[in-house]
Symmetry: D2
Subunit: 144 residues, 4 copies
């Protein structure tokens, strides 16, 4: 929830529990699932900022992932409750980077930088972030 | 490939290799992935019968899964090559049941009955199987 | 939560929200994900009945899915909150069937019967349901 | 297959077909699945270099993903055949980076850098790449 998190966690926080089928034969969270979790988180950010992801689409824009950088620090395990915190690292004209940290209690498991490009919902061409979206994402920006 | 399989395997056969991320923390294929494999197989059946799944859609119909029954006999494991064989158990007016067997060499791992209902691509209402589709599925019917 | 649900929903209820990546190119929940959801639910049943899935394993038994029957009534969609209700249809010597209903508000999307066989955690051979497990599953049995 | 690819594709190449369930409600490959595809590819690299992934484990080491960087250039679509090419960017003492390019015919969809750390199969502590593994990975190194 925006505004609820501690000083270093950033403006957004979400919790989810690791599912059995998300762990691989090593008994740990399959690495691709961290990227799937990012998508769960960004859906919640759209819910908190815009009302819903559909409300974002109603402004005429959608987002596509242009780049994803993940650093894996420690394995996640079945039934772990993960706290995922972070926010946007500024808003460019047509793109922004979401910086997230995945924690199990105080242990950092993964951090991720995901760069989103805004596209027109019809043409899928790169487009400027609408003023309304820009305003609503304000509370989700990381401190300088 | 239709027509290639042995007398009891049915008119269709496809092979796939179990991926690491498809296995769960028990080290075996996560049960839901057998249902995902069914979808891989039915795509190949559309390719062999119609040319492609898109060619099916071009006839004005799509399919939805109405019922899935899976019996798990033995676990699949990472890197197993699975042979998936079977065919359709007759063609009803608006639906058909695909009967599949998943084998690792001679060992039966799973058998599945999947009932598909044909729907209009626009309205998503139940619709009769088009004559062209009916004809092209002929070679994929199980023997009486 | 056991005991909380309405008269026809059964002794267990759990909610989950459909993730974007769980929907396929038809824009609806990919059918295999309902089987993945079953696994999420059964984990919660072990948490409520035994304390955790690990506590089940500590009794010396694990479960394997022997059979899964799913009937799809209506499509689930992105961001839907699904209510999943049900319970066990009696306890056999070595197996039991979990009967679940997936609802979006009052609309039934899917119902599922999943038969679990209890196996020894070491040998993976079929084994009797331990007395402790049998007792703790009592509140999760469907009414006759 | 090592040695088969063109001058700029690198020493390793693998093809796979996009599955329906790997596409999301936007109708394109869900971004997390590119990371899942990396794992499919690396399994094939172990098969070609060591005989199998199990043969790698038999040398006493396993690998964990320490970092993944993916750049998404264009969307993948259902039924696309993807060609995935690349190789290792040198071998460090305990780690190496796999550089892959995902193409649909001549169109680049994604490129990925995945850093693997070698760990002891028992302790999961970082460990030196065994001489045998180092030798067998030789043909899979990118040219300087």
């Amino acid at each position: 929830m925006a505004g609820k998190s501690t000083s270093d966690g950033g403006p957004f926080s979400h919790e989810l529990r690791v599912r059995y089928g998300e762990c691989d034969a090593q008994g740990i969270v399959f690495n691709a699932n961290f990227l799937a979790y990012v998508d769960v988180v960004v859906t919640e950010i759209w819910r908190e900022s815009m009302g819903s992801y559909d409300a974002l689409l109603a402004t005429g824009v959608d987002t596509v992932v242009a780049e994803a950088n993940l650093r894996f620090r420690a394995p996640g395990r079945f039934d772990d409750v993960l706290t995922i915190e972070g926010g946007f690292d500024g808003l460019g004209t047509t793109s922004t980077t979401l910086k997230l940290r995945f924690r199990r209690a105080d242990e950092l498991l993964c951090d991720a930088d995901i760069r989103y490009v805004f596209v027109d919902v019809e043409s899928w061409q790169k487009t400027a972030i609408p003023a309304e979206v820009r305003e609503r994402l304000g509370p989700f920006l990381l401190a300088e």
